[in-house]
């Protein structure tokens, strides 16, 4: 798999200000890779949710972005990692309405619905790593949905 120039980066997630940076970088990278406006918005929103999780629940961490190429399709992989307490009950965390903070509890599950590939690797006491991938020109879901 090749990577695209100007897309690969590692951004720190330490404060609210960094979330702005994360969103802008993802928007820009997705634009460079030829994402349509809807896919771009979805990925940026997913990144915003996951980055906030990293900040609020993981106590800060980082986001790595990598451009992907699969045949003629170009994609973007975002990896959010932290060294926080980890997610004790992953199944529940992925379900809607569950929150350990005072949010809506839509972050993790919602982000999963906004991207094409989604993987969580969380070890209690060690940290959490969430990897998401979106492709520029592939319909994300079976027809009939958005």
């Amino acid at each position: 798999m090749e990577t695209a120039a100007g897309v690969d980066a590692c951004l720190p997630i330490r404060s609210d200000m960094d979330l702005v940076w994360v969103r802008q970088h993802v928007r820009q990278a997705a634009g460079l890779l030829g994402f349509g406006l809807v896919e771009q918005t979805k990925l940026v929103t997913a990144a915003s949710e996951l980055a906030r999780n990293t900040l609020v629940h993981g106590g800060g961490g980082r986001m790595e972005t990598a451009g992907l190429t699969n045949g003629h399709t170009r994609g973007l992989r975002l990896t959010f990692s932290d060294e926080g307490p980890g997610i004790p009950d992953l199944e529940r965390a992925l379900g809607d309405g569950y929150t350990s903070g005072d949010g809506l509890g839509m972050g993790l599950g919602g982000a999963r619905r906004l991207v094409h590939e989604f993987a969580v690797d969380s070890t209690p006491g060690v940290g959490t790593k969430v990897t998401v991938v979106s492709w520029a020109d592939r319909s994300p879901r079976p027809r009939g949905e958005f």
């Binding site: 609210d16 979330l19 702005v20 969103r23 928007r27 406006l37 809807v38 771009q40 918005t41 979805k42 940026v44 929103t45 915003s48 949710e49 906030r52 809607d96 949010g103 809506l104 839509m106 972050g107 599950g109 919602g110 982000a111 619905r113 906004l114 958005f146």
Partner: protein
């Protein structure tokens, strides 16, 4: 500086360098005028570049005279700061990074070094070496001074922009008797959404508003936190007797909200501010009717 101790009949190497800089000021500034840092800033006239170069050379000579080649706070560097930071700032504005500007400044060293070596053909090798070292230190300090200035300018810029951002307040606009609107712009983080909520609720009381329109056209990303803030604002306004309408929901945002699983069912939403205003007017019994027959009428 002990390693630059006086040698024989000569002054210290730094003073030697100072004397050399004065002697060759014209040639050095001529050569500098051809270097990128001067050439690209003084595009109109080469004489101006030479003049600026002369001022810098004089200032450097002054620093060398006082044996302070290693000290960025030396008095002579004040002039260097003024001159070079102006050029550095011009380069930065042209889109050059601090590192590139630093390289530009470094490029000023070789021509001077060549002149210095050529200037001391009959001197002992040791003295030549010491003088070259002193010159290198001097030019290195100058580079540091320029970088320092560039960085502090960056800091000042960030500070200015931060203040500017704070000024991007959220005005509450009275659209009609009993109808107020808040155009939301940018990131709705906790601090700003709190300000929005407070100003909106105050306006609802002050203006006896029955309808409050929250326009999110200028909000680039609506995630669950932003939605939560919106819903809290809507709920608070409702408690005060005002109905909220959220407008400016773009198609991409709408699809994202649905997939994210956010339920805005309890909130009245409209695609555009105009639609929201038409809705509020209609609810207030103030429908807008087109004067021309066959017009679209109210929405």
């Amino acid at each position: 500086m002990p390693e630059h101790a006086s040698t024989g009949q000569h002054g210290s190497p730094a003073r030697e360098v100072g004397a050399f800089l004065r002697r060759r000021a014209e040639q050095i500034s001529q050569r500098w005028a051809d270097e990128p840092l001067f050439r690209t800033v003084f595009t109109v006239s080469r004489d101006e570049a030479v003049e600026a170069g002369r001022i810098v050379v004089d200032a450097l000579a002054q620093v060398a005279d006082t044996d302070q080649v290693h000290d960025p706070d030396a008095a002579g560097f004040t002039v260097v700061r003024e001159q070079l930071s102006r050029m550095g700032a011009a380069r930065s504005r042209a889109g050059f990074t601090t590192a590139q500007v630093s390289n530009d400044v470094d490029a000023l060293r070789p021509p001077v070094e060549n002149l210095l070596v050529a200037d001391l053909p009959d001197e002992p090798t040791e003295l030549v070496r010491d003088c070259t070292t002193a010159l290198t230190v001097l030019m290195g300090t100058m580079r540091l001074v320029v970088l320092e200035t560039a960085l502090s300018e960056g800091q000042a810029l960030i500070e200015r922009q931060r203040l500017q951002l704070m000024e991007v307040a959220t005005p509450v606009i009275k659209l009609w008797d009993g109808i107020v609107a808040v155009p939301l712009i940018g990131t709705l983080d906790s601090a700003r959404s709190q300000v929005v909520m407070e100003t909106l609720l105050e306006a609802v009381v002050d203006q006896h508003a029955r309808f409050a329109i929250l326009d999110i056209t200028g909000v680039p990303t609506v995630d669950s936190l932003v939605a939560q803030h919106l819903m809290k604002t809507v709920a608070a306004a409702r408690l005060m007797g005002a109905e909220c309408v959220v407008s400016g929901i773009r198609p991409a945002i709408a699809q994202t909200i649905v997939q994210l699983g956010l339920d805005l069912g309890t909130v009245i939403t409209r695609a555009s501010l105009a639609d929201a205003l038409a809705y509020a007017l209609h609810e207030l019994g103030a429908d807008i009717i087109n004067a021309t027959p066959g017009g679209a009428g109210h929405r």
